[in-house]
Amino acid sequence: MTNKILTIKNLTKIYGDNIVFQNIDLSINEGDTVVIIGPSGTGKSTLLRCINLLTKPNGGQIWLDDEEITSKEVNEDNVRQHIGMVFQNFLLFNHLTALENVKLGLIKVKKLDKTAAEAKAFQELERVGLVDRAHHFPGQLSGGQQQRVAIARALAMDPRIMLFDEPTSALDPELIGEVLEVMRKLSLAGMTMLVVTHEMGFAREVADRIVFMEKGSIVEEGSPEDLFNRPKFQRTREFLWKITELYGKKEQEE
């Protein structure tokens, strides 16, 4: 029996005359990793921001478990602590150490006492392999380490689902691996994840389902196997061809 964690129906976002995306339907089962791919400017990031209520959609509904989070009576702050979000540019709190970054939400949102929060924060840093950097400030960490702290910060809230918005796009190539490794482990451990990325190797290996988005709508979705080997649409094929031409050679050699 699979349990739907996230259900999106008819979601639409419009900025002025610009339709960012329209009539998006998507659902994610508990424990699944769904990867969204597609050209830039097709509304992938905005879709994630809408799911986290950081941006208000113009129409449609979103359910987290059985609760409709797009309903007016919902307390947004309450919803957000159950949805972890990892950003392209890490967005760590620059004035706090790695440990304090992870701890803050535990103390201020979850109202844990200091000792419990610290223990939990160390546990999350352990998960991303950064206990030895606990007392470093973001400015003293590499991009890859910063992103891993950001993942730990989101995980600390015990979210129902984790959203990743191009988590490796701002990283130097040699730092991408460590972040993907953390995400891979997380996926294996059964975390429900929705990931926007251009890392096709990751998508192929880790995703239970891949969603191809273009020009504000979902063109097709399916297992990595189906999408990569038997794409139904010309547009999907062209995109995959373009992107594997760019990144794929390395993977074939491996």
Binding site: D77, Q81, N94, H95, K108, F137, G139, L141, A154
Partner: protein, 228 residues
């Protein structure tokens, strides 16, 4: 020269007391201005329309009129509305209200420089808007504001000199007294100029220390000299 030294020695205790009053005026004006200025800055950046409008109007009004006029309005003007304040209280109020307008602008600039992304990051883990402002935005913005805000304590310290006009016994009032007793205005005013200078130097050192103390490791905000 020896005349001048004699004057300085004769009035030294008097000047010291005056300097104490000046420092007190500066400190109280600064703290009051900071608290009010912070409120105004937050109102202008995050407030709803009326609050934003009020903050803007306040800042423009108090920056747009001379401190002396504000002081006289409070000390001589308010009694006609039935509010009579003592000289010292009027001085505190004028300095605090005036300083708030300037401090609000320094703080607003720093808050805007921290930007919306930190707000996004805070909200994303479930912090409320106010919690994010309090725990994420302000701790960074206040640090960022220090270099430019450092002007304010120094300007304010020197501005306090106007309060002798409503007979508050600050350093300037003491200088005036020394000048009339000794018939040596140049010597008297030079002497207090030196005292002001010493206070500003000390204040400057304190502010530099504060700036260093508040620095976040690995997060260079002031830009290194000659890095280009």
């Amino acid at each position: 020269m020896s005349d001048w030294l004699n004057l300085l020695i004769r009035f030294f205790d008097d000047f010291l007391v005056g300097a104490g009053v000046t420092l007190e005026l500066t400190a109280i004006g600064l703290v009051m201005g900071f608290l009010l200025g912070l409120g105004l800055a937050l109102g202008k950046v995050y407030g709803n329309k009326p609050l934003c409008w009020f903050s803007t109007a306040y800042i423009e009004l108090f920056r747009g009129t001379p401190l002396l006029v504000q002081l006289f309005l409070i000390y001589y003007g308010l009694p006609s509305l039935g509010i009579t304040l003592s000289q010292t209280l009027s001085a505190y109020l004028a300095l605090g209200l005036n300083s708030a307008a300037y401090q609000a602008e320094y703080l607003r600039g720093a808050i805007l420089a921290i930007g919306n992304t930190q707000m996004t990051a805070g909200r994303a883990i479930g912090l409320s808007r106010w919690q994010t402002i309090l725990h994420i935005i302000l701790p960074q913005a206040l640090r960022l504001a220090i270099p430019s805000w450092s002007n304010e304590p120094i300007l304010l310290l020197k501005s306090t000199a106007v309060v002798f006009l409503i007979a508050v016994q600050d350093l300037m009032a003491k200088a005036k007294r020394a000048a009339t007793t000794t018939y040596n205005p140049i010597g008297s005013y030079l002497a207090v100029a030196v005292v002001y200078l010493v206070m500003v130097f000390a204040l400057n050192a304190l502010l530099k220390w504060l700036e260093r103390k508040a620095r976040i490791p690995g997060f260079e905000m002031e830009g290194k000299k000659g890095s280009l």
